[in-house]
């Protein structure tokens, strides 16, 4: 029996492909695509403000609100700015440590470093955010360490959000960049040195260009995770709010799912734009 199935599968590759892909594709489409589509449809509906019931009549009211609202523009720019900044900081921090891990450290030390980088992943997002709250506070650790050398804590606010988010998502950026660096053959670095390229040249003209896909893969994590965050902002953001807060307030608190869905369109569009822009670099295979 199984023999016959094997023969059948051997003869018809399309059948094999079908068997392989059916389950995951069904899952992704049934669970995710349908949910997203439904959400987009919801964006066209309204909600009764007092009872909180949905009114399923199509209207572009929400869309208009979001597109024309000054608030949404400001918050979008702020959020994208924060996400971009977090990403840049993470990449800048990840590059040297990933480089050290991949190209300088001995295999033993590399393993230890990798564990050291991965361990904070388990320390719970919320705990880390609160740890930063404590660190950044008036008279907190940062000020305690910084005052002797003339540094001041930025206090709660956007810069605190940037620092905290950069901290929390850092491992997710280091990992793909480390993997990317491991894939850069040593011989290319040697070739560059051989032709007279010093470390800086080699970094600029050989390593970085080859690392672009890996960097982008890492940036997708930090960028998207920051883009949708609302919890860190609440904890260290002072008075600031980001797109995530608006979505959350409307979906969870104000019970205005249609408006929340409409606002959610903003990060969706931003992310899709980003993905489309980086697709050709092959970065999407490197997550």
């Amino acid at each position: 029996m199984s023999h016959r199935v094997g023969a059948l599968l051997g003869r018809y590759p399309a059948l094999r492909l079908g068997l392989l892909i059916a389950a995951p594709l069904t899952w992704l489409v049934a669970v995710y695509v349908v949910a997203l589509a439904a959400l987009l449809v919801t964006a066209l509906w309204q909600v009764d403000s007092f009872t909180g019931d949905l009114e399923r009549t199509v209207s572009l009211e929400n869309l208009k609100t979001v597109l024309t609202g000054e608030l949404y523009r400001t918050v979008t720019l702020r959020t994208v700015g924060v996400a971009a900044l977090v990403t840049v900081i993470d990449v800048l921090i990840a590059l040297p440590i990933a480089f050290y891990m991949a190209k300088v450290a001995t295999p033993r030390r590399r393993r230890i470093l990798l564990i050291a980088v991965l361990t904070p992943l388990w320390a719970s997002y919320l705990v880390k955010a609160f740890a930063w709250r404590a660190t950044l506070s008036d008279g907190g650790l940062l000020e305690w360490l910084g005052t002797p050398i003339g540094l001041q804590s930025p206090g709660y606010g956007l810069s605190a959000v940037v620092m905290t988010q950069a901290y929390i998502w850092l491992p997710y950026v280091i990992l793909p960049i480390f993997a990317g660096l491991e894939r850069v053959p040593d011989s290319l670095l040697e070739a560059s040195g051989d032709l007279g390229g010093g470390p800086v040249h080699t970094l600029r003209w050989v390593v970085l260009p080859l690392l672009v896909p890996a960097v982008i893969a890492g940036s997708i994590f930090s960028f998207s995770l920051t883009l949708g965050d609302y919890i860190t902002v609440n904890i260290v953001g002072g008075t600031s709010q980001m797109l995530g807060n608006l979505v959350f307030v409307n979906a969870g608190a104000a019970n205005n799912l249609p408006l929340a869905a409409t606002i959610a369109l903003i990060p969706i569009v931003v992310m899709l734009g980003y993905l489309a822009a980086v697709r050709r670099t092959g970065a999407l295979d490197n997550l």
Partner: protein
């Protein structure tokens, strides 16, 4: 006074943990020569090359390039260029930019570095692929790009680590000719690593034969081939019939190890009176190689002889009885392995 040699190694040693990859090497490469390092896998050839290029740090000993001690100098500050076995072309750069890379890091202005790169490409007959990426090239083309990239910075010494290893036979033969011509034209000192003895013999001015991190013989191709210093060299460079001293005593009366090249032996169907040394045996195997035939001859005393005959002279069949002869001057007396 001798002119300063472009490469001078003194008591160079490199250890990787337990492994002694290079073991107290002394070596002088002369100006403008085509110098080959020949040896089996793991004998330390690549390591020597990498030490000269500066990719590895010597455990002890010194490296002088052009009279300057560079033992502690970083790779990018040494005036040598390397052609890597896997070419190590930058995949994200066009062929032209690959070749221009060495000039770029030397801050040569764009226009003039592109001009020079194009000249180097022209030398390699690669003008038409200048805009392509390395992955769009065939193996032979990549090889030539790697060469162009290395020579465009006009290094004192060009290091080549089995640059032809990845090419197929026909292409390799063709590239051997080009390489030799190039070296003659540029007059650059070439240090060439290979484990293909024919390649080493046909290209080099001098050859160093490696064994376990040491040089066991150094000399011109003819010296290496015709007067191998030890059974090891005799076996590694070309094929050799080896006679231990007992066999030598029995066959031709000298109690000493000897080597004998297969092409020096003649086969006859009857006893030839005028040959100096004559033995009898049975054909064990006869292999057609096109221009030649390799015959495995089983002597009466059990010794196996390999004989290389020009094709078409005779045709021997397995099991046939034949007579083999050679002249005394073709025998190569060998020092004992231990003594070398």
């Amino acid at each position: 006074m001798q002119p300063t040699p472009p490469v001078l190694l003194r008591a160079l040693t490199k250890r990787f943990g337990e492994v002694v990859a290079v073991d107290g090497l002394d070596l002088t490469v002369h100006d403008g020569e085509f110098f080959s390092m020949l040896g089996p896998s793991g004998s330390g050839k690549t390591t020597v090359l990498r030490l000269i290029a500066g990719f590895e740090r010597a455990t002890s000993g010194t490296i002088e390039l052009d009279g300057q001690d560079v033992t502690a100098t970083a790779a990018h500050q040494r005036d040598v260029s390397t052609v890597f076995q896997d070419y190590a072309l930058f995949p994200h750069l066009s062929v032209l930019d690959n070749v221009a890379y060495g000039l770029r890091v030397r801050r040569v202005p764009k226009r003039s570095r592109h001009e020079k790169a194009r000249e180097a490409l022209a030398l390699m007959r690669l003008e038409q692929v200048a805009e392509r990426r390395p992955h769009q090239l065939s193996g032979g083309q990549r090889q030539r790009v790697a060469l162009a990239r290395a020579i465009v910075v006009q290094p004192k010494v060009l290091l080549l680590d089995e640059p032809l290893g990845a090419l197929d036979l026909k292409l390799r033969e063709q590239m051997q000719v080009e390489l030799k011509q190039l070296q003659r034209r540029l007059g650059t000192t070439f240090v060439f690593v290979t484990h293909d003895q024919e390649e080493a013999l046909s290209l080099s001015d001098r050859v160093a034969v490696f064994d376990q991190g040491r040089i066991v013989q150094i000399g011109t191709p003819a010296e290496i081939y015709e007067r191998p210093a030890s059974p090891y060299v005799a076996q590694f460079v070309g094929t050799s019939n080896l006679f231990d001293s007992a066999t030598s005593q029995r066959l031709f009366g000298i109690a000493r190890r000897h080597g004998l090249r297969p092409e020096k032996i003649q086969l006859h169907h009857e006893r030839v009176p005028d040959a100096e040394i004559v033995v009898e045996g049975v054909i064990a195997e006869s292999i057609y190689l096109g221009s030649e035939i390799r015959v495995h001859l089983q002597l009466d005393d059990g010794t196996q002889l390999i004989v290389l005959e020009r094709a078409g002279e005779h045709t021997e069949h397995r099991g046939e009885k034949v007579v083999a002869s050679w002249s005394r001057r073709d025998l190569v007396p060998l020092t004992d392995e231990k003594a070398s």
